[in-house]
């Protein structure tokens, strides 16, 4: 960096302390802001209802209302439903990222951060980390509810963990997409509704809660290529639960794990840089 340094003004006495290790500074910035976000959650615990109460309600509703009318070859509806409930609850929970970012952007705090010598994307990364924690809570709620109503994993511990990690990875990826939504939305309310308008069809038009075989042909094709279906099918395979989609010809249903990974990394690869650009644009006038 060049500067015709005509005046000798030192850096802020405090800021000069740690000019070095960029990665250490970055991780400190992210942890400080993550902590800040968690304080916000502690102040309004009801913010967490969509990753605590909602998963329980959805799980019970789907299993006892819808499940009563569906027969699953090779297992109980509970065993079939769990991976789908993970995908459904986690997918819709990602609207939280849109709302959280949008809320931040409407307060003056972002301006304060922008006058500090911080990495520009820290706010985004810290939001993503905080939300990952809340998505972990969501996952735990679904698993506990599932165990309570009779779901059992039928695979090794390692495979079971992988079966839970795949939906979580996909959720992390999807939260970068909803981060973009949060940045283009006018405010928290529109971020919420924009998010749900996109996320509900994404979660429902899939094999998450019903086998896709019964859908009209065109809809079945869409459902089979829906990333949520790949994630759900991969989780079912890894958890050792019934996966009726395995008999389908569409490529993602033949290779659900590969498809789930490709979808997840592709979404991160596109949406994370896009979110950074949108953040820059939104916070520059």
């Amino acid at each position: 960096m060049t500067s015709s340094h005509s005046v000798a003004v030192p850096t802020s006495a405090v800021g000069a302390v740690d000019p070095g290790n960029a990665l250490r500074r970055l991780s400190r910035e992210v942890s400080v802001l993550t902590h800040r976000n968690l304080v916000h959650v502690a102040h309004e615990p009801l913010q967490l209802s969509d990753v605590t109460i909602q998963p329980i309600v959805f799980s019970l509703l789907f299993v006892y209302v819808f499940g009563s009318g569906v027969t699953i070859p090779g297992g109980s509806y509970q065993d079939f439903a769990l991976a789908g409930l993970l995908a459904l609850n986690l997918t819709t929970a990602t609207s939280g990222t849109a709302v959280g970012l949008s809320t931040d952007l409407t307060t003056g705090v972002i301006d304060r951060f922008r006058t500090l010598p911080m990495w520009r994307a820290t706010v985004l990364v810290a939001r993503s980390f905080t939300d990952l924690l809340s998505y972990l809570v969501c996952l735990a709620m679904v698993v506990v509810t599932g165990l309570a109503i009779g779901w059992r994993p039928k695979a090794s511990l390692g495979s079971t963990v992988a079966g839970l990690a795949i939906p979580l990875l996909f959720t992390f990826a999807l939260s970068w997409m909803t981060a973009c939504i949060g940045m283009v939305a006018e405010g928290p309310e529109s971020a919420q509704s924009l998010g749900l308008v996109l996320l509900f069809p994404l979660a429902i038009v899939s094999n998450a809660m019903v086998p896709t075989q019964g859908m009209p042909g065109w809809l079945e094709t869409i459902a089979n290529w829906n990333p949520v279906s790949a994630v759900t099918a991969a989780a079912r395979d890894l958890l050792g639960n019934p996966n009726p989609s395995s008999g389908l010809d569409d490529w993602p249903m033949q290779h659900p794990l590969a498809a789930a990974l490709i979808w997840s990394f592709a979404i991160i690869g596109i949406c994370a840089p896009l979110a950074t650009v949108l953040y820059g644009r939104r916070t520059r006038d």
């Binding site: 800021g15 910035e29 800040r36 304080v39 301006d111 520059r284």
Partner: protein, 320 residues
């Protein structure tokens, strides 16, 4: 003046149909206070936003602490503290949490961040609310926290956007004391204000901004001199047509009269025996006088003269 620590050249900025800045230039030397004075919507905040790297100007250039705000915003941010007009502290966090967060983000390790926060809480008398969420603070308390937040990193250059707007007189006085202390320690301060007395008291240099343009610049004394000296105020017992005519030869400009015609105002050169001459002239014209006052020039007069904005509550009209 040595090389300025804050300098701007021909800054312009347009928001949609509004020309917020139409060519603002200013400069502040190290360890001084530059007062940016102007009415609401004059472009004061936009100027601060450009200088603190928050807003890109459409044209013009600005350097803070020797670094270009456009080319090296990161270097500028390592040297500035900002207290914006809107609250930029986190409403859900306590004062202590806010200050610790900002200290950590400025590069302090945890233990020293806590010490710095405690120091600022004490200096700004925030101890009693330190552990309560900011949401419930009174306006004055929050303003003090805003200022403390801008000082966390001990910045050599400080921007204060209307730091005392909405404060009670005691809090205002306290804020002024803090600014004076900081300047004594060598901090360079740019302060925007709508209050003439604030600029008069604190600023070494003043720029007056209106409609995005600098309409005057100089020391408070220089600005006062530009209005051409003292101001005469005469209160008549009864409105009288001859009064303004009688005053004409004794004043430098036109004579303004209040709507009821009883109060007359005009710029005068001062000089010995002026009040006597005025009373005599009015007496000869058959006008009864209740009160005569010759005021030394104030920034109010400068402001009035430059912006055309009335500074008195009762409207003055220019008489023939």
């Amino acid at each position: 003046m040595s090389t300025p620590v804050i300098e701007a050249e021909g800054l312009t900025k347009r928001y949609g149909g509004t020309q917020a800045l139409a060519g603002v230039s200013l400069a502040a030397a190290q360890g001084t206070v530059l007062g940016v004075l102007g009415p609401n919507g004059a472009g004061k905040s936009t100027t601060v936003r450009v200088l603190t790297t928050l807003t890109r100007p459409d044209s013009g250039s600005a350097r803070v602490a020797g670094w270009d705000v456009r080319a090296d915003p990161g270097e500028v941010r390592r040297r500035i503290g900002v207290t914006a007009q809107d609250a930029t502290v986190d409403q859900a966090l306590t004062a202590r949490q806010n200050l610790m967060m900002l200290a950590s983000l400025s590069g302090l390790p945890r233990s020293r961040a806590a010490a710095r926060a405690a120091e600022l809480l004490e200096r700004f008398e925030l101890g009693h609310v330190a552990n309560r969420p900011v949401k419930g603070y009174s306006g004055g308390t929050r303003r003090r926290l805003d200022l403390a937040a801008g000082l966390v990193a001990r910045p050599p250059v400080l921007f204060l956007d209307e730091p005392t707007t909405g404060l009670d007189p005691v809090s205002r006085q306290r804020m002024w004391d803090v600014v004076r202390e900081l300047v004594q320690e060598g901090t360079t301060v740019l302060l925007t204000t709508q209050y003439l007395d604030e600029a008069d008291t604190l600023a070494d240099q003043i720029v007056v901004i209106d409609h995005g343009r600098v309409i005057a610049a100089g020391t408070p004394r220089e600005l006062k001199n530009t209005t051409g000296g003292a101001r005469l105020e005469v209160t008549l017992s009864r409105a009288h047509d001859a009064a303004a005519r009688a005053l004409g030869p004794l004043v430098t400009g036109t004579v303004e009269a209040s709507q009821d015609g009883r109060r007359l105002r005009a710029a005068v050169d001062g000089g010995t025996g002026l009040a006597t001459a005025i009373v005599r002239a009015l007496d000869q014209a058959g006008v009864l006088v209740d009160d005569v006052a010759v005021h030394p020039p104030s920034l109010d007069d400068v402001f009035h003269a430059l912006t055309g904005a009335p500074v008195d509550s009762d409207r003055m009209v220019v008489s023939a």
